[in-house]
Symmetry: C2
Subunit: 648 residues, 2 copies
């Protein structure tokens, strides 16, 4: 990772190769003006390169003499090796901020190799795997049927009883003749029994593939797994085509209220997965008939919809799903590109609001083998929270609402191109500096941007602890809009929408409710087990939400308890990683089933402690500041600085 | 049963209502001329009714004065109550035969009630059965999924774990809402587990049906079983449409040699069964979707073909089938009229030449519960022979060849309308008297007719013990034909073919080989267990072959050992009866599987004793006359009578 030294600020930071100097500055808390989101149009983020090699995109926003003097636009410039840069005074949004509160680096998501070290070694078979075997030739003294000779041979290697499907029986006589009894079988294995799904002549056991599928409400992601090599050979993602029938799970449940609606939603999910399966298979030169299994991890509604099971009961009290475990089924029968023998294994969902995606994540995070008291969090529309270790697991789900996915927020949007994902606010003027995803012109604010914005406004002293704007703020960035007080994140001239992008007091209220629900959920789990936050030895943050999650700011917001940042692990897409593991190992499938069965689910809507905990959490960071000693100290320091500034 | 007294012969016989006086006479061994097969055209079987009520069909073969004097044609006349008749001298084929050798009555096939007494009481569930159950309504304190609440309720009643199919899961949410949690499930039950196949709202458990199917090579027979009433409500039979692709199993195996051929034969079987299923369902006002299961009993080739599994291995050494047990499968997927949940249970086939039809027969005959050493015989193209009791079973299959089904015999035919099924031969003139099936004009000779014919020729002294005609027989009925010596069974003027119907020496040779194979099979089984024929406590004859089997004549032929006729039981269609039982009881299915697994199959082609036993049996009745003491005595008596006659 190239190291960027900001000589003007006497600080440096290492960032992944390819990151812009602007993002590096923001990560290092080096104040830089930036109002276009990082796409080179506002021309404010000028820096001077003092040494080191850079790559920069030509821009008309710099004059020839400036370029000759080493000026670049930080958003258009990447370090090729270590570089030193200086931020000229004209690029500052206001007075240079103090760096006393430290600096952060982007959350480093576990690599596949790192994930592996958290798990026992993967030994044994995949749930559906091939086995090349030689069937004894029949003779007058050994006139056992073809099927008996085959299953006996298999049983000598795997102790359990082997049955054959009708399809496999139909294939067997011809397959057995191809190569003098040398056949390859595709076998579904469980601890108590096994089933031969497919038989082909000769030895084809070097070609074994499975497709791990994360069936997200918004995005479907697949990984093509080479079961022989034990690794992912191709990966792809795509919006879930169901989004045209509603953005969140509730609207999907409503859309699936009729048999036709259910069939349509199922079909849309199948089509999305099919498209991805076809794409990754083509990329890796795998024929879909070579897929042994689809392993799908989805939340409970997604899993019901995929399998065409009505999720209606999930929507209303008492929030009961049709099923929590799902029979293995033929992938082809669902309409997926597959062989007749390709199985679809839908991971179990412990409860209506706790799905197979979380189960997969728990497995991928290694919780079932961990002695550490682990807090597992996956925040999307719902915040799914699991607390436990290898012995026990308790879980709850908070309807955080869609705020963190940009819903219920005036200019909120999903984490897509053009979404403001990072914000720094000058404590004196309240002027924002922003970065957008892909550095496109800003179109709205996504979850991490919203969290940044509220935390920064609070730290800058612009918000009361209730989340309301302080009265009489003297800043051009806070104003009375149609909906009451609002903060201008992007001015119309810099935005991609042609209008101002603002954060209203109502938006902040929604975010407060969302963060309070998550904090209350964690509190209820911890108190149900009578453990304190400090006893939590590891926090695993799963999902895209964790990617740019600023631990300091999320704590300032009071969404997560104050836990040593060193105890945080960022899992990335745990659903996909878990599905991949399970596609490779019967033991992992067993563990997933055990996790689903052993998890005690707390229904918060009937939990007497939850409402109290929730109301107490509707403050920044919390009613009880003693729970947030570090934030308390930080706030005091910021207060002091502001006092200083005023005196200066 | 009306009693017919033949005053002229000082004998009487009770026959089933509706039997003609001609058949009564033949059964009573009262000599009567009859050469047209019993259809009223030859006009020879004149009798005088002396008392009692009769029904007779008008005929021009009798003059008005004859009719006035009480003359009738015996073939066209039935007794309504007890009657006395006299056979006038002109109706005799020759001298009146002696009756010293006794008389026989038609073999009485076990009634369903009699079969029941041979079995333990049928308790417990059918393999697929419905169960009405109330699912607890969900609440905030009981938020188990619909599936969990249902399966837990079922598990409280049936101890094993209940899984649900995807179809059942799809039906569950709506079904549970119909009647406040009152649902009816269709459940597949095994000793170790159960599977919920179907869920519907309300209580429909009063409608439960299954279809028992005997998939015969020639004829398919079905019985629609009302599982609630525990009885057959409709029955139907039809030629197996596969007969167009070959009459015997071997030609079917050949026809199934290509994938297209296999698909075609499977389709033909499915079509035949579908036709019958539709017919019996319509007759009993049952919708095919109400069928819970098809239980099929077929020989190994028929079972392979029905399920589209190649039977190629069965045809050639080492005679190995693809499978001996078959996975349960969806009936609808095979193309049968059914609901999505209707199961097809194909009974296991212990070996290539020992099928599920025999297994079903063994169960229906009660052998698995019997202490008696039982010989079970089912003779068709193959003679399947099983010896054993509730503790052990040994079996073999003799390729008897198609002789008993009329194949390999010049004028042989299947037991169809117009087939000569009964023959009596005048010992002096060798003139035959015949009856045909349905009393149609004779077209050929079926199995029982052939057995009669050879045994009668032998008893009349026309055949050597080798089965060759004696030299210099002075009878118009034995002549040199194109194929050597032959016996004229029907003259052209009486036949329905316009030609003579004859039995050639070659035909007799074929029959000798067939009977020798069966006798040798029985011998090998008995000697493999070191038991003598006299130790056999019961002989169960299954199948249509047993219907008119003349125990005396079959013993004269030497096809079966001399066993007390009182030990014989005629089972009728044991395959269908067994399939019906199994459709009604999981225990019966368990027993069938146990029977298939416990049966020791002796492959005669590698049995060193078989060839010796076979060659020894190629005589009438056998090389070793001491094995047939009664036949020996009978032959001596007949010899004496002929001597007498010659002296007279």
């Amino acid at each position: 990772m190239p190291k960027i030294t900001f000589t003007s600020d006497d600080t440096s930071i290492a960032v992944p190769a390819g990151e812009s100097l602007l993002r590096a500055a923001m990560l290092a808390d080096v104040a830089v003006s930036a109002s276009c989101g990082g796409n080179g149009t506002c021309g404010k983020c000028r820096m001077v390169v003092e040494s080191g090699e850079i790559e920069t995109t030509p821009t008309t926003r710099l004059s020839e003499p400036d370029r000759a003097r080493g000026y670049v636009l930080a958003c258009l410039t990447k370090a090729v090796g270590d570089v030193s840069v200086r931020v000229p005074p004209e690029s500052r949004p206001g007075a240079a901020p103090s760096h006393a509160h430290g600096r952060r680096i982007p959350n480093r998501v576990l690599t596949p190799e790192e994930r592996t070290t958290r798990l026992p070694p993967l030994t044994g078979w995949a749930p559906v795997s091939k086995q090349a075997i030689s069937i004894a030739l029949p003779s007058l003294t050994d006139n056992r049927s073809d099927a008996t000779r085959l299953t006996h041979a298999l049983e000598r290697m795997g102790a359990v009883r082997h049955m054959m499907t009708l399809d496999a029986l139909r294939e067997l006589p011809a397959a057995a003749r191809v190569a003098q009894g040398s056949v390859t079988t595709a076998v579904w294995r469980r601890p108590s029994h096994a089933q031969v799904l497919h038989v082909e002549g000769g030895d084809t056991a070097d070609r074994q593939f499975a497709l791990a599928v994360d069936v997200g409400t918004t995005t479907v992601e697949v990984a093509l797994v080479d079961l022989v090599a034990g690794k992912v050979v191709a990966q792809a993602a795509e919006y879930n085509a169901q989004v045209t029938r509603g953005e969140d799970v509730i609207s999907r449940v409503i859309a699936a209220g009729t048999p036709e609606g259910l069939a349509e939603l199922s079909d849309l999910a199948v089509r999305t997965i099919s498209k991805l399966a076809t794409r990754v298979c083509a990329e890796a030169n795998v024929h879909p008939e070579e897929l042994l299994a689809y392993v799908t991890a989805g939340n409970t509604v997604m899993t019901h919809l995929l399998l065409s099971i009505s999720p209606a009961g999930i929507r209303t009290a008492p929030y009961v799903p049709a099923a929590t475990t799902f029979p293995r089924t033929g992938a082809q029968a669902l309409g997926l590109p597959a062989g007749a023998h390709t199985q679809l294994i839908a991971l179990p969902c412990p409860a209506s609001w706790l799905g197979g995606d979380v189960v997969a994540g728990i497995v991928a995070a290694g919780v079932p083998w961990s002695d550490k008291l682990t807090l597992f969090i996956d925040v999307g529309t719902n915040g799914e929270i699991v607390l436990g270790n290898h012995e026990w697991l308790v879980a709850c789900s908070c309807s955080a609402g869609p705020a963190f996915e940009g819903g219920g927020v005036l200019h909120g949007m999903r984490a897509a191109e053009g979404a403001v994902e990072q914000i720094r606010i000058d404590p004196e003027t309240l002027q924002p500096s922003i970065i957008t995803i892909c550095c496109e012109r800003p179109l709205g604010i996504c979850g991490s941007g919203l969290i940044d914005c509220v935390a920064e406004l609070f730290l800058a002293g612009a918000l009361e602890r209730s989340g309301k704007f302080k009265p009489d703020l003297d800043s051009p960035w806070v104003r009375h809009g149609e909906r009451g007080l609002e903060y201008v994140v992007v001015r119309a001239e810099d935005s991609g929408t042609g209008s101002d992008i603002v954060l209203t007091e109502l938006d902040i209220e929604n975010l407060m409710r969302a963060k309070a629900a998550i904090f209350a959920g964690i509190s209820v789990l911890a108190s149900s087990l009578d453990v304190s936050f400090s006893a939590i030895e590891e926090v695993v943050v799963a999902g895209g939400f964790g990617h740019y999650l600023d631990l300091e700011r999320i704590t300032v917001l009071g969404m997560l308890p104050e836990i040593d940042p060193g105890r945080f692990t960022f899992l990335g897409n745990g659903s996909l990683a878990g599905a991949e593991l399970i596609s490779r190992s019967t033991e992992m499938l067993d563990v997933a089933e055990r996790v689903a069965a052993m998890t005690t689910y707390l229904e918060l809507s009937v939990n007497t402690g939850f409402m109290d905990a929730y109301i107490s959490a509707l403050f920044l960071p919390h009613t009880d500041l003693r729970l947030f000693p570090k934030t308390e100290a930080l706030l005091a320091e910021r207060e002091r600085e502001r006092g200083h500034g005023a005196v200066d």
